[in-house]
Point group: C2
């Protein structure tokens, strides 16, 4: 699954936000996510397949960590759009570009 598609799900974005604070075992994520354990595991699987997280087994636990690299693609796609909302003059600017 693409990074874009992975981000479409709010819970998955939440998971990434949590992992931004540092790596976390699944239990911890379940506690903080208002979602069942299987639900969390399912989303983690999607995130794994999108390359957005990695797992490490630590004793009984499975510790997940953020892997932000695929987000760089999204960021790059977004790049040319950024200037379009960065100033109040957007509408005017666009109009001028289209009508040189």
């Amino acid at each position: 699954m693409s990074a874009y598609a992975a981000l479409a799900e709010p819970h998955r974005r939440q998971i990434l936000d949590l992992l931004r604070e540092g790596e976390r075992p699944v239990t911890e994520l379940v506690k903080r996510l208002d979602l069942s354990q299987p639900g969390v595991s399912k989303h983690l699987k999607v995130l794994r397949e999108a390359g957005l997280v990695v797992v490490r087994t630590e004793g009984k636990q499975r510790v997940y960590a953020l892997r932000p690299d695929p987000l760089a693609e999204v960021d790059q796609w977004l790049e040319p759009y950024r200037r379009l909302w960065s100033s109040r003059l957007d509408a005017l600017e666009r109009h001028l570009e289209e009508n040189p």
Copy 2:
């Protein structure tokens, strides 16, 4: 539909990319998209509902224009992640943050 979900579909991102060059009637989009006319119209509907495009009727044509505002939310969400891939020292930085 959320902007995130709208972006999950590659054709929809393509449409936005095309509209970044300026407003375009549907015919033009159909020509450039390797997708049937109904297909394009369906995706345009989604984009409309996500607030990412606006339409204007011009004679027989329906002219679509980009409305980048909802992308700002995505951009903001992405913001704290940006530093994580912006330097080769990421892994180290994160490690240090988690283990102060």
